[in-house]
Symmetry: D2
Subunit: 431 residues, 4 copies
Amino acid sequence: MTNTRTVELEGHIIDSGMMQQAFGIVMDLGGEFDVEQFDVGKQKDKTSYCRMSVSADDEKKLQEILHELHQIGANLTDPVDAHVVPSPADRVVPVGFYSTTNHPTDVRYNGQWLSVENIEMDCAIVVEPGGSTSNQNSTSSGDVVDPDAEDGPRAYTKVLNSVTEGDLIVTDEAGIRVKPPERPRDSSGPFGFMQGGVSSERPSESLIGEVADEIRETKEAGGNVLVVAGPALIHAGGGDALATLVREGYIDMISAGNGFATHDIERGLYGTSLGMDMETMEHPRKGHKHHIYTISEIIRAGGIAEAVEQGLIKEGVMYECVKNDVPYVLAGSIRDDGPLPDTITDTIEAQNAIREQAHQADMVLMLSTLLHSVAVGNCLPSSAKTVCVDINPATVTQLLDRGSSQAIGMVTDIGTFVPTLAEKVLGEADE
Amino acid sequence: MTNTRTVELEGHIIDSGMMQQAFGIVMDLGGEFDVEQFDVGKQKDKTSYCRMSVSADDEKKLQEILHELHQIGANLTDPVDAHVVPSPADRVVPVGFYSTTNHPTDVRYNGQWLSVENIEMDCAIVVEPGGSTSNQNSTSSGDVVDPDAEDGPRAYTKVLNSVTEGDLIVTDEAGIRVKPPERPRDSSGPFGFMQGGVSSERPSESLIGEVADEIRETKEAGGNVLVVAGPALIHAGGGDALATLVREGYIDMISAGNGFATHDIERGLYGTSLGMDMETMEHPRKGHKHHIYTISEIIRAGGIAEAVEQGLIKEGVMYECVKNDVPYVLAGSIRDDGPLPDTITDTIEAQNAIREQAHQADMVLMLSTLLHSVAVGNCLPSSAKTVCVDINPATVTQLLDRGSSQAIGMVTDIGTFVPTLAEKVLGEADE
Amino acid sequence: MTNTRTVELEGHIIDSGMMQQAFGIVMDLGGEFDVEQFDVGKQKDKTSYCRMSVSADDEKKLQEILHELHQIGANLTDPVDAHVVPSPADRVVPVGFYSTTNHPTDVRYNGQWLSVENIEMDCAIVVEPGGSTSNQNSTSSGDVVDPDAEDGPRAYTKVLNSVTEGDLIVTDEAGIRVKPPERPRDSSGPFGFMQGGVSSERPSESLIGEVADEIRETKEAGGNVLVVAGPALIHAGGGDALATLVREGYIDMISAGNGFATHDIERGLYGTSLGMDMETMEHPRKGHKHHIYTISEIIRAGGIAEAVEQGLIKEGVMYECVKNDVPYVLAGSIRDDGPLPDTITDTIEAQNAIREQAHQADMVLMLSTLLHSVAVGNCLPSSAKTVCVDINPATVTQLLDRGSSQAIGMVTDIGTFVPTLAEKVLGEADE
Amino acid sequence: MTNTRTVELEGHIIDSGMMQQAFGIVMDLGGEFDVEQFDVGKQKDKTSYCRMSVSADDEKKLQEILHELHQIGANLTDPVDAHVVPSPADRVVPVGFYSTTNHPTDVRYNGQWLSVENIEMDCAIVVEPGGSTSNQNSTSSGDVVDPDAEDGPRAYTKVLNSVTEGDLIVTDEAGIRVKPPERPRDSSGPFGFMQGGVSSERPSESLIGEVADEIRETKEAGGNVLVVAGPALIHAGGGDALATLVREGYIDMISAGNGFATHDIERGLYGTSLGMDMETMEHPRKGHKHHIYTISEIIRAGGIAEAVEQGLIKEGVMYECVKNDVPYVLAGSIRDDGPLPDTITDTIEAQNAIREQAHQADMVLMLSTLLHSVAVGNCLPSSAKTVCVDINPATVTQLLDRGSSQAIGMVTDIGTFVPTLAEKVLGEADE
């Protein structure tokens, strides 16, 4: 095994599981490791450090191992620059392009560490060399260049369809540092009660209380709360409670689809959701007529905001969004009726709108929608606190598998979750 | 097709689906029908009547068809007596024994219609001829004999393991009348909002309100409410709310297992459930130690009632049962730890105890347990109102497939369901 | 109740459940009925007939009842023309527009019954009056006008976003006839084994055999088989078997998304699916790199067909589609990476492409995708035989709830279903 | 924090996750740790060693931490004897009793390490001091005493209900060593492909092939394969394949319930399962009559073996068990009909029979039954290879959460799994 590189891990690498993962990766992929230095944090506020050499039979296998080690935060020790290769064509990446994680990432360029802007998963990193006055000597190795600095080099993510011919794309693993979030060595912090994973066999009302606390803390800290919501939320009777949370200022953005908005507005216009009276639950026969009427009426009005202004819509989640300047993205899908004029029917355009929301969110509540939750989750950095709620454990698991490491899942009934949550957020806010 | 018999259907046979089922049975099983008379109820309070002859190629097939028609309430017109055959041995039924439905059933014996006592599914019917003074001429054909009459003939169900050699067992389909419950031709009645089936895409809180109304109405009418509960109810934080409902007199009987009682008592003794603190949700590591201790302590005390008397148990569902004389059955299972002294470890004996409860219940709440719910459901007559609540739709579906036609299912989180239910039952009770 | 109308039901209205539904609708919606005539089919090949008057307190309620009766095939007796009202604006329907079912439908216009073309759910019906030479007297009442007749009046469905200002839109329920499919009074026909509903507790291999038979019979009858497939099919190892079915001519169209096609091609290019080696199952770590590469390479080639021609893609489902001229629609969604050049990113445009496929399908296999299955299902007439396969019962139930009455669902593992299906289709084809 | 103890961890403590868990436990439970020595295994075949002191505010908290550390294999360094306290009464454990894990465990008694016999979870450890001739000086500290040695001290597990007054029960954590299984630092071993966890998005047929390989390897190594099976296996059509595996000698023991055996025998007697013809799937109406008949006939015969001898049962899983001397345990449950004479109706007695099977099993297949799988899993040592198969992911997850660390789960259709498995086991056996 003559193919060898040296990597470092630093931080709470044992209790965050990073060390275990690192050993596992090398062994699973058929490599060998040799621990050169290992300093264990002796108490819980001390970090650990590991330097080990990794070797494999051939360079290809070694690259695979290094790629995987990278994903979890094991970085090459070599203080070399990242390789950049111009993109050969629009929407085509060079061979060996570096595919991002959703963790904070730095790229070394001209001896400087650049913080990668707008980090999200599965993107390419594009480096912009910056202005004519080269600043390659202005910072010492190890410092991270301020991305807001005028005219300096920058690094940022691009999804495949935004890649343009000639973009300088980072390839391989050299010159890249990834910092996955560490599990706090103290369980008393927010969300410490779960440290990720799906809840099960836990008291539901206490768990909802923890989520309520987290929302309030996020707002008190000036953070943004993004709600991703599916139509089941309205059917299940959670509309009023969510509208209240919007009105009271706890929700900063909403990401949903055509169905969610239409059901919400239908409830306001006709008191029904897909034809069912939400109070008496009478007339439960299937009938999309109110649904189509609702869309038709909003089209006639010119859009949701216009319908609110014209007094057509007088209540509901969308009404409160318009009245309280809470921005929303309605992304189209192939199962939509209509759609509403506000719905973005092009999926690329919709992804861009979702991406913008996701990058501003400090906390995300994913409520009863797999499609929109995955779409938002794809754009989230691992630093965004995420709560996934669905009655289907498969949905929650799928979201968490793709999600950031702080994501927590809760398998519960959205129809009791949202009212209970609103009660706890508002009740505690009064105290 | 020379094998022909005539059957009658009467009641709301169209809107209850009975007529559709009847035609379906004959066709599915390869028979033929000839409708001799059909009088449709012209308005919604009028019943319909159908008399048709059914024929098949051979007698065996005809018997199969008649058996299936029987299950849904199509009765033979022939005013003949039921056949009774002595059981050849203990726990052995004669060939062709009649297997019961869970619907009210009459058996014709010596020209009299006897109402079958303790009706439940999949049983044999045993006829006791009664005293020496034959009363075979004392009632006119069509009248049902009062089962409480002294010394008269009686008919009642027996499960297989209760059958004794020489028992007079009803065989074939002749001389038997079954009356399935009809769907009321008016949706405003109790549980009219669902008429069976699993809820989906309905407002959860409104549905829980309907269940609360039904509990109150059952109690006001002097009926008995039986709760069947699984350990998940305690883990999910529903224990306090259920204890309150017991204390306030809304629950008349509890059917559960060793795990439910132990978790409930553990919560009282140690504030934990399987080792997790129910308030702070701290110490969530797996540990059965408190669980085993709990059982050990109750064994030392001599049982649950003794532990309450000795002041060892001071709160919880089991505590309230003891204090309020609410009887409980704890049925053993092969996954039990311990068990508690109160747990009935023999499954036959446990079934008998469950059977007794089931026969007294007017309304049954099945909460988060498949095993115990199926066991109770097996013994329920179709007249018992049944609500099945579980977060797993497969559990709810499986229960309803076996259940009576009034059973309704709700897929929701037991941890929010029970507190919301208690609030609605008690809140409305105050008004 | 002075608001009264008369409706007729004809066919196997009892054993298809239509009569039961009709009574249920009137009662649930607070109306009254009076059966004026009821002729029951005396044997299983005889149809029944019912004429009844329906009344309600107010006209609005009556219209609701009539609307619902309509959905199930109870038609107004009045030989009046349908009302048509010009659409007030693009994508706006007139008040009281008639919303279609997915059943064969006729509209009465100028005394003629027009068969509505391209029937699907939740659409408006547009009437085109036809040429200058009025043919309004040329057919006797009751005949259906041939839609292919030159210059005659036509009726066809339009989804909301296709409605143009001035379109003559059918409103109310008068002058419309709906013919839901009847359950055959003989269970031996294809799919007779299930008559809709989700399979459970049935032998899986026998059920798959029935589906295989149905595919072969559809092909022998010259029908079209449409496969709707999700990416899980590839992950679960069903790709080879599906490719074989395409190559052997049993699949006529494929409806899928960007993810399905990319995973399929990735498997061909790299032997992996989302980075996992499909043979050895080694390297199971998450890595989207191959996924992004695959898309990038197909973009570079210019599209899937081009990549096949250039020899880049050498196997798999998409390869066989290109080689065997099996058309495919790849509809975009907001969770897509890339996308591939073949993916239709505008959801309206994608729906149109899906609609075209759906209208040509005689049999539809929906395999492991909720999103695409719902989208296709929305466009299907009730005459298309539909099989939904998913390991998640919630997905199957949701599809069937929206689907046509012949739809059957099967909860099984797609990874064993597709290979077993292919074996049975091809094995039996050899015999 | 004056309450301090020192623990050691040894083995592949990083890549097995043990070190991470240990730090987590101390921090979660509010303690402190101080790593005194840490020697990391520098290559993958080298073990690591950690000695650290653990402290807490009070002794109670420290004991909790030590208890949890124990569960994962962190052992106290003090070479003291275990405390033993006589049980105060039958079925009552002394305060502070040591509750077992399912890992290999040693207890120090009179300076000797005794290997605990019949290790399983949640038991007490009983020490038997042995004969009059004290052998306390006969072995040097650190050696494990051979449990088969005549007259020497022994240690073995007892479930709560077997504890007898005066039993010497081990309490606290001192003098106890636990050795959890380590993840092999090489993924090529059996079951290396999964290393625990639920499969998802993996090729089903390849996974089944791995299970088949494991069965063959277990048999070739002279090991015992235990099948735990639920009635769904028969309904789903897996009976023939399982019967074949029994006949061909791949299954050594079967653990099931009354329902499984009855459905299997019913299929043999009547060709039906709960009344459904397994070939034609005709007559799928609900009917327990064949079910009850089956039990009745077996009762008449005197039992399953007698019915086989009398020629009544001629095929099926139970038939093959009798013919091939494969022992089976049929454990009773409260949802049973009948039961069969072979069914053990007392749950304690049934647990004892299950326990005996479990202790002999080297590999366990848990097929479509939650109840019986949990019961068996409760008795399994962590060294038994376990595969859980169910279509419901919740069942698989629940089993794995309780199971040993080598347990793997597979969410698939039992009706295609068993035939495919049999094909792969037998096919490969031929090669």
